[in-house]
Symmetry: C2
């Protein structure tokens, strides 16, 4: 039904997350209608991003340099390290413009079901970094799933001998409605209550 | 916030239809996690599809050969031509396995608002084809939007002197609920009623 190069393109596009056969077909037909220069720009961007981007040797965030922009930035505080599961969490936190310290990307969460143990994550480099740099505080910012909680507790225990370890707050999302919050979130919100100032 | 090659990739991905900043970021981060060979396969599929696929010189369907597979297929009837707006309509109709004739892809519908007049479509080649081949029937299978209707009426008038011209039926979709059908669809369904056989 499809000409062979089109079939191959659709097949390749279907490997992307969230792209099923229908979307892949729509994307492929769109691509065929664009000028050749535009298609080549996309292909080149793909290959170059993959070739040029590796992991920062300090914090394991995505970086095109051996040490990433955040780690190299002299205006960022060295005394706070925020530990996250994934590079996308760094990007999300950077968008808030609230955090002025540095990061550490674990590369995932502990998940025995998926065969991911602590040794698959960058926990050993984190321990080395913390024991050497002696930051004032390490903030654990890991999503509160079962695996995320396990990871938070595990990493927290390991870091406690070296520094103050905190975790981000969980509670009602801003704009959220108390009535519609699930019980676990509500329990967390109660537990995390603070005195009015 | 993003390393430059990553920013460029996200920017390129955002040009795809239905891909906003969030999806582009998710796709890009996914791509960076895949092995280099896989990323290169995708890039190559993009460039090759664009380079190798053009339009069939007979029916204007997407094709990697000068004449497409459907037009070359000796088992397909020459005496019926189904006129559609776009190559994706050919693909949709082929999936039904109901139609054994040939196609003609107009390349769009008449839409003065978008600056698309009859001369931007493959209407002249269609007229030439019909007057030369003298098919028994031309089926117009164009979506019933305002522009689609205009195109159906326009092309229908031009073809009538040469052959029998029909259009596909509009009515309730199979599995559809009469109660929830819009009035125009219901009116079309009534208008298109047939005697029980």
């Amino acid at each position: 039904m499809y000409a062979r190069p089109l079939a191959r393109l659709i097949e390749q596009l279907q490997r992307l997350p969230g792209v099923g056969p229908k979307t892949a077909q729509r994307l492929a037909l769109h691509i065929l209608k664009r000028p050749e220069s535009e298609v080549e720009a996309l292909a080149q961007a793909l290959v170059e991003a993959k070739k040029q981007i590796g992991l920062c040797s300090v914090c394991f965030h995505l970086s095109s340099e051996p040490v990433c922009e955040i780690c190299r930035n002299p205006n960022r505080e060295n005394n706070t390290i925020c530990v996250v599961a994934d590079s996308r969490d760094v990007i999300a936190l950077e968008k808030t413009r609230e955090f002025k310290g540095k990061y550490h990307v674990l590369g995932g969460v502990i998940s025995p079901m998926d065969g991911i143990g602590p040794e698959q994550l960058t926990i050993t480099p984190l321990l080395r970094r913390v024991s050497q740099q002696q930051p004032k505080e390490v903030i654990l910012a890991i999503s509160p799933s079962v695996e995320g909680e396990t990871t938070t507790l595990y990493v927290g225990q390991l870091l406690k001998p070296f520094t103050k370890v905190t975790r981000i707050a969980f509670g009602l999302p801003v704009g959220g409605d108390l009535e519609y919050a699930d019980e676990i979130t509500l329990a967390r919100a109660l537990e995390g209550r603070r005195e009015l100032d």
